[in-house]
């Protein structure tokens, strides 16, 4: 396999995993934020290795504030790497034999 093909072979799952995991995390936290507002939950903050993922602040007047942090991209990065790792692992032997 040529080097360029090899790079593409691993870059594709990385990019796809990055996009999918980032989007799913963002969407998941958005729903979580809406649910928190509907149920009147108290403020919370989630972070990964000190990087903010999501911050929900309930205000005294009943309103709320949501903030997304770079942690979402960090999760996307981890997801991309996981996808790439799996692609490498499962395609080590190019075979269709069962």
């Amino acid at each position: 396999m040529k080097t360029r093909t090899k790079i593409l072979f691993l870059f594709r799952p990385f990019l796809f995993g990055f996009v999918v995991y980032s989007l799913l995390t963002g969407l998941g936290y958005l729903i979580f934020g809406i649910l928190s507002d509907m149920n009147g939950w108290s403020s919370f903050e989630h972070s990964l290795f000190g990087t903010l993922i999501f911050n929900y602040q309930a205000q005294t007047d009943g309103s709320h504030q949501m903030a997304f942090g770079p942690g979402i991209l960090f999760i996307g990065l981890l997801g991309g790497l996981l996808n790439m790792g799996l692609a490498w692992l499962l395609n080590r032997k190019e075979s269709h034999l069962v």
Binding site: G17, I31, I34, L86, L97, V98
Partner: protein, 299 residues
């Protein structure tokens, strides 16, 4: 995925002759050698690859352990060119394996031709543009997008349930239904436009891969290519616009969130006109062909 227990089946309008496989839809003749003919003669839509191997090996006294990989490779190559369909044995284990492979292919974890199984569904001129054609397109859409439709139902239902929307389950199911309906309308739009753009009806077939579906047909003039390509996303997009107005005016039955989810699954179809999507590629080809024609006329 081609397994030893996979059953090869001849698609409609594909004929095996002594020295070639004739594709009557695209009018292409694929030459084959004597050994391939001997093997392909045994394909009857019931025998699996291993059974075919045992039969030809017994007949010609060939070693099965050497012939089996060759038969598998032959079936794989023909399947890649949509010259042979494959059917898996009825087994829950294989069914689950296939769905799991589809997820891994979607995530780009599994890549390459080995993981794909292609299916050709005839959409010939004799099938017209009515119920039969729609039925066949529906079958192809279920094969290609059924799993995504199922995930969409699961995600939307969960979302509506989490947001405490009444009747969340049927609204979630309806989002999946509209997603599949949008894809049926998309392909039907291409098909109707193709059949109507010519003097007589012309044959074509639906090429189904995991998560991918397209109509394979003969090339027409650049003007017709434009019309055929644009006709696909037109119907679902028009439907999305109507539903958007209904939701906005408050006439949509069900929650607003459900309504907008339907608008999104139908309204994204024009994105298929952007390359590298198949419609986008065809559009670019039509533009290039038109430019070439204009240049030639100028000279």
């Amino acid at each position: 995925m081609i397994r030893d227990t996979t059953i090869p089946v001849w698609p409609e309008h594909v004929e095996l002759t002594k020295d070639a496989i004739q594709d009557h839809v695209l009018d292409i003749r694929h030459e084959i050698n004597d050994v391939s003919y001997e093997i392909l003669q045994e394909v009857d839509g019931h025998r699996s690859i291993i059974e075919i191997c045992n039969r030809v090996c017994k007949k010609h006294n060939w070693p099965p352990e050497q012939v089996l990989p060759d038969i598998r490779e032959l079936v794989l190559q023909l399947n890649e060119r949509y010259l042979i369909n494959v059917r898996q044995q009825r087994s829950l284990k294989i069914w689950l394996q296939e769905r799991w492979i589809t997820v891994l292919v979607f995530m780009r974890i599994l890549q390459g031709a080995d993981w794909q199984t292609r299916h050709r569904i005839d959409l010939g001129a004799d099938k017209g543009i009515g119920i039969t054609a729609i039925g066949r397109i529906g079958m192809a859409v279920l094969k290609a997008h059924g799993l995504l439709g199922f995930f969409l139902v699961a995600i939307t239902s969960f979302l509506l349930f989490a947001l405490e929307v009444n009747e969340w389950l049927w609204q979630g199911i309806c989002v999946g239904f509209f997603y599949l309906l949008g894809n049926i309308l998309h392909e039907w739009g291409h098909h109707v436009s193709y059949q109507k753009s010519n003097d007589g009806r012309r044959p074509s077939f639906l090429a189904v891969k995991r998560l991918v579906l397209q109509i394979v047909r003969r090339q027409t003039t650049p003007e017709n290519e434009w019309k055929i390509t644009l006709a696909g996303p037109l119907l679902p997009f028009a439907m999305a616009l109507i539903i958007a107005v209904l939701v906005w005016m408050g006439y949509w039955p069900g929650s607003d969130l459900f309504g907008w989810a339907v608008v999104i699954v139908l309204g994204i179809h024009p994105l298929s006109l952007i390359p590298p999507a198949e419609d986008g590629k065809r559009l670019m080809e039509a533009i290039r062909a038109r430019k070439l024609l204009v240049k030639q006329e100028g000279e």
